[in-house]
Amino acid sequence: MAASSLRSVNPTLSRTTLASPTISPPFQSPFLRFPPTSTASFNLKPLVTTRSSPSFVTRSSAAAASPQERKTFHGLCYVVGDNIDTDQIIPAEFLTLVPSNPDEYSKLGSHALTGLPASYENRFVEPGETKTRYSIVIGGENFGCGSSREHAPVCLGAAGAKAVVAQSYARIFFRNAVATGEVYPLDAEVRVCEECRTGDVATVELREGGESVLVNHTTGKEYRLKAIGDAGPVIDAGGIFAYARKAGMIPSAAA
């Protein structure tokens, strides 16, 4: 994902390691630079260094290494309704798990969507498992409302979900999904939560120019997804840190 936008900014630059599975050695944090005039919009400034390797592999940076992977997600749908709040996505008792701790990150995944009422017969993650069989969460209005807990998009990503396609989002959840790069938050134009069923096989295709689609292979229907808009560059960059590095706001990790 970062690779293609890089080429559009500066064809001479090449992105090196993005999918490094090892933790980079710690570096001395140099003086953090602030440009004299802040960017008033999302215009990307030219990259300041070529060496850049996040010390922790986020799902977005792993996906960036393979443009194909970024562009399409295949999988089963898990359908929920309106106003799915953060307590249903990750019950508060599990918030003691620290997401930046790799071991606890996995545990968070095992609790994803366990707050849903019993009326949801299919569980997102089977008891005893840490991963879900569903890659695409289909939601209604105001998905992710409630708390600012980042554990919400994180647990979905940790469980293995790749994208959420909802009619609308609560802002903090959307922002956290974008900042972490854990799941792609996509906007449907119609009530896909009423047209899809849990277990449907689907593909989410992210296309250049912001036009994306959700294809439900089980029903044969295709749905246009709204352009991501302002959050696009941040998602494409791989989260807020990567975006800020691109914009020259903070130095790259290996500077």
Partner: protein
Amino acid sequence: MAPQRSSSTSGSVKTGMTMTEKILAKAAEKSQVVPGDNIWVNVDVLMTHDVCGPGAFGIFKREFGENAKVWDSEKIVVIPDHYIFTTDKRANRNVDIMREHCREQNIKYFYDITDLGDFRANPDYKGVCHVALAQEGHCRPGEVLLGTDSHTCTAGAFGQFATGIGNTDAGFVLGTGKILLKVPPTMRFILDGEMPSYLQAKDLILQIIGEISVAGATYKTMEFSGTTIESLTMEERMTLCNMVVEAGGKNGVIPPDATTFNYVENRTSVPFQPVYSDGNASFVADYRFDVSKLEPVVAKPHSPDNRALARECKDVKIDRVYIGSCTGGKTEDFMAAAKLFHAAGKQVKVPTFLVPATQKVWMDVYALPVPGAGGKTCAQIFEEAGCDTPTSPSCGACLGGPADTYARLNEPQVCVSTTNRNFPGRMGHKEGQIYLASPYTAAASALTGHVTDPREFLQ
């Protein structure tokens, strides 16, 4: 992507700005911003607590390096409050983790707790972050305050921009002192009229959320003004702004006035600059309320916008009452409940749990005489009414918490609560039924064992 209107191209023609636009413009070192602008903003205060703090610092170190230093050790306030009085080892560990970070970074404001058996043995410990921020003088007009908690919007009561962010954003702020924000448009809520004696700010905000729905203010600012607002105390203003997030709002804001300055200047000597919306500012919506006509309301299970008149729910049998949280656990909230209990002179019919938000609130509950009660304190009145003893200050069961949290809903019971959310499972049990209400309504309901309009006891 929508075309960006950058302020640098608008020349010398200045558009009127709302309070929020002005605060953000100043924080971004710009003369002008319009809704939709994406700007890098300087942060005045960053708050975090025991649940999100470890994650935020974890990200900070991962991205800026193990030896990185925070941008300003005096602008970060670390307030353990969520899962404190529990035997849950991970919860306890998280407070220890924050202690280590604060020590390493020389964080000036860390309201630590080490003796979990007696909160009073911890001189630094405060309790609920949003109430502590205000009480410790960290809320000031015109500033930008961020917190790793959705109810950070509470501080908007002080005429500042305050909103909740996640761990990753917080990790970014820790290193840079800046955040990327999109300027929100403002919805204006003008509340006029004399506040009836049985009505509280909680009724006002539940009324509004019921009006516009849980997504009615998504990505927007909720600006509250009018004669009623001017008559509210700071704590009541905090209750109002506290639940802005329940309408999806980005931030809530109230124009600062003498009430604000009096409160703030008694708690901090840091200078501040209040801002006000221009007369020709643009608002995306205008709502007007005649408060004198409003009645006590509740939010029925399972949504904060499931509004109903309290008197229309009088047949709903309840199992317990919970008075606490940043929304309804402040000193004035307990004063109100005590006032109603005293006026009624009866005993509660259901277990009534009292969770003061902070140490200071707890002390007020035990020390301050309740007006009109012949010198009795809240604590005395609560005891006479048969309530549970006020417990150690923290977020408590507002969000359920670890299994051994005091007053957690562990069975599918019906609870009237002065807290802020009632989605399924919010206080613990998935089939628990939570009615959100004002302290008056909560106290009245405790006395009858049913959801009860406080006018039954207050007229």
